[in-house]
Every structure is written in structure tokens, then in C-alpha cells.
């Protein structure tokens, strides 16, 4: 039987890199932020995912077919994006494979960027960013960098699994999440996440172009947002609004 999920490497994968995961999720914050990093840092496609768990889709760019879930990188970073809403039932296998592969490639850490859905988002001019980490040392590091900690709450979906499998595999993992729209693409939240990322790590990304292109991105992202919303409902993403009980 063939592997359910395969990562096909196109070139030598750097080790000791920081892996950034931006799969479609709340407000497409992680996807927009990670795509922008790929463009700004001029990262090259280094691998892609092949899996029967993903819909039978290829994306055409400049006339050439590309796998929707791809890995980009240079010596310092590996960025993971998907131009396809990952089907809810496949998310476990897909995320486990990404984290296992990252561990095999000796990544230093895994960072997931994303959104925290807030109901009154349109009333918020400057969304706040919150962080969470797989261990206390990393959490202290975030606090030192001035990132507010998400003390109590639920994480659902790709970020939750990235964190879960990173802990299982003992790979340091951080989530950086900005207040965002739930099902409207939110380039402003993505820009704010990137600003926060540059405070923590040595990655200098000028977000001015991202903010300038905000309206264009929102128009272009309507379709993937709609499909992502369907998958988020299947994942019970709205549980992120819940209050956890731990007495």
C-alpha cells in the first residue's frame, strides 16, 4: 500500500531552519502572512505534499501545475502553505506528517501563525497579538520579546495539531495569533502577526506592501476563505470562543 501522505523533496532541505506553517484557517491570517514571507524573502519551492487525502487538485501558476500544499525555503526558513482548504478529516495525518518531516529535517522550531476570531473585529483598529508555546522556556522568551501570552483558551485546527505533535516529538513550537475576522480574509491581522514575528526572530519583513494590497487580497481570497470556512465548521473551530474549565 502506498503512503497516505508523501512529501516529495525537490532539492536538498536545509537543516536547523525555522519552520513556519501557514495553512488556511481563521481569516486566512497564517496563509496570507506566510505567503507574504515567501515572496518578500524570495524563498524557493523545496518540496511539496502528495496525498490521496487531499482533493484531486493542482494549481496552475504561470502555466505550470503545482501541488497545492508546498514547502518553500532558504538556509534559515522553511515555509509551508496550502492554496487549498485542507479537508477536516485529513488534518491529523497532514499535520503529523509536516511535524514528523520537520523533525527529520532537524528544524530548530516550528512557528504557526494564525488568527483568533473576535466577534467585533471591525471595531478594532489595531488587532492584538497573543502567543503560546510548547514549553515554559519558550513562553518566557515570548514574554521577554513583549508578546502577550494567551493564558487560557482553546486552540482548534492546524495550530492545535502543530502544537500537539511538536510536543509529542519534542520539537520546540510557538503559535503567534492575532485577533481577526472569523470568515473574512484579514490581511491587516496577517501584517500585525508578521510585525510580532520580526520582534521575536531575526526576520525583517516590511509589511507596507501587504497593507497596500489589502483590498486586492480580500477580493482574491474570497473563494479559499469560503472553502476554509466549510472545513472550519467541520473541525468545530467555533470552540475557540469557548471558555475552558480547569479548576
Amino acid at each position: 500500500m502506498s503512503e497516505a501522505v508523501k512529501i516529495v523533496e525537490k532539492q536538498i532541505i536545509p537543516s536547523e531552519a525555522t519552520m513556519i506553517v501557514g495553512l488556511p484557517d481563521v481569516g486566512l491570517v497564517g496563509l496570507i502572512a506566510t505567503s507574504y514571507i515567501i515572496t518578500e524573502l524570495n524563498l524557493e519551492e523545496i518540496a511539496y505534499m502528495d496525498s490521496d487525502l487531499l482533493p484531486p487538485v493542482m494549481v496552475l501558476h504561470q502555466g505550470l501545475p503545482r501541488a497545492p500544499l508546498r514547502f518553500y525555503g532558504n538556509q534559515k526558513f522553511i515555509a509551508v502553505i496550502s492554496e487549498l482548504a485542507v479537508p477536516a478529516p485529513a488534518i491529523y495525518t497532514i499535520m503529523r506528517k509536516i511535524v514528523d518531516w520537520g523533525q527529520a529535517k532537524k528544524v530548530k522550531r516550528i512557528i504557526s501563525m494564525g488568527g483568533i476570531p473576535v466577534e467585533n473585529r471591525q471595531a478594532i483598529t489595531e488587532p492584538k497579538v497573543f502567543g503560546s508555546a510548547s514549553n515554559q522556556e519558550l513562553l518566557d522568551g515570548l514574554t521577554k520579546s513583549g508578546v502577550k501570552i494567551m493564558n487560557e483558551g482553546y486552540m482548534v485546527g492546524p495550530q492545535a495539531l502543530s502544537m500537539r505533535y511538536s510536543i509529542n516529538n519534542n520539537v520546540p513550537s510557538i503559535a503567534i495569533l492575532a485577533q481577526s475576522f472569523y470568515n473574512y480574509p484579514d490581511p491587516q491581522a496577517a501584517a500585525i502577526v508578521l510585525k510580532e514575528l520580526s520582534k521575536i526572530f531575526d526576520v525583517n519583513v516590511d509589511v507596507s506592501k501587504l497593507l497596500e494590497k489589502g483590498e486586492e487580497i480580500r477580493l482574491k481570497a474570497r473563494d479559499i476563505m469560503k472553502r476554509t470556512q466549510e472545513e472550519m465548521s467541520r473541525m468545530k473551530k467555533s470552540q475557540e470562543y469557548d471558555m475552558p474549565l480547569y479548576v
Binding site: 486586492e216 474570497r222 476563505m225
Partner: protein, 142 residues
């Protein structure tokens, strides 16, 4: 002498029925095949993302309306249960602007239609537009 109102012919009546039937068929098709495109070349409209929230007193519709001229926003009740929001875009968008050359079409407006599950007063709406998000509030009818 004032002209007598012309009696409606059977063809007029049938024409009206056909219009109603067409509208219903369109609605049914949209509900049955949600896989349709998020654009309509005939109406030159791109579909806007929208949400409906129903509270105990109000019905609140929000719509993501980037690149629009706020003064062109039109909110109308299609019937007692459906609200349509349209707005002209600041700049027309062609498929080619999005790098798509195998389709032809130009879009000048954003549009969404939302079905409201509770009775509401469409005459008393309040509209606001903040950060590209349109919010329309209707009081609920008891």
C-alpha cells in the same frame, strides 16, 4: 377622455409567472449547487462574503466589501426573507487583473444575498461601513 386601463392579457399574466418561476429556479439552483462560481459575468458582480446574526431584538448582516464606493451601497429586500446588498467597486476588476486569461469578464460591483430566517422590518434599517465591512441592522418583528 381618460384612457381605460388595459386589461392584462393572458400572456402578461403568464409572463409574470415565468419571471417568478425563473427567480425561484435561480434561487433553488443556488441553494442546491453551492459549488457555483463567486462571480457572475452577466451582472458584472463579484460575490461578497457575508454573515447573518440573529439576536433577540435584531437581525445583523455583515458583508466584507473591499474596494467599494461606500456611497453606492444599496440594501434592498428581494422579498420578505431575502436581503440583497450591492455596491459599486472603486475600480473595475477583470479576470486578467487577477492573472486569469482563460476567462473573460469584467466586474464592477460586489453583491451578496442573504436569507433571513425570522421576520424583520426592512423599512427600519441602520447601515454602517467600517474598515471595508458593511453592517446592516434590522429590528425584528414580533
Amino acid at each position: 377622455m381618460p384612457e381605460k386601463p388595459r386589461k392584462r392579457s393572458i400572456f402578461d399574466v403568464m409572463g409574470e409567472y415565468v419571471e417568478v418561476f425563473d427567480a425561484l429556479a435561480d434561487e433553488l439552483l443556488e441553494a442546491t449547487f453551492p459549488e457555483g462560481p463567486s462571480w457572475n459575468i452577466e451582472t458584472c458582480c463579484l460575490q461578497a462574503l457575508s454573515n447573518v446574526f440573529v439576536t433577540s431584538r435584531e437581525v445583523v448582516i455583515t458583508a466584507d466589501m473591499p474596494n467599494i464606493e461606500p456611497e453606492t451601497v444599496k440594501v434592498e429586500a428581494v422579498d420578505e426573507t431575502v436581503i440583497q446588498i450591492t455596491a459599486k467597486m472603486k475600480k473595475k476588476v477583470r479576470f486578467a487583473d487577477l492573472g486569469i486569461y482563460h476567462r473573460q469578464g469584467e466586474f464592477s460591483a460586489l453583491r451578496c444575498q442573504d436569507r433571513i430566517q425570522v421576520p424583520f422590518d426592512s423599512e427600519k434599517m441602520k447601515i454602517s461601513f467600517t474598515g471595508g465591512i458593511l453592517e446592516v441592522r434590522f429590528p425584528r418583528k414580533s
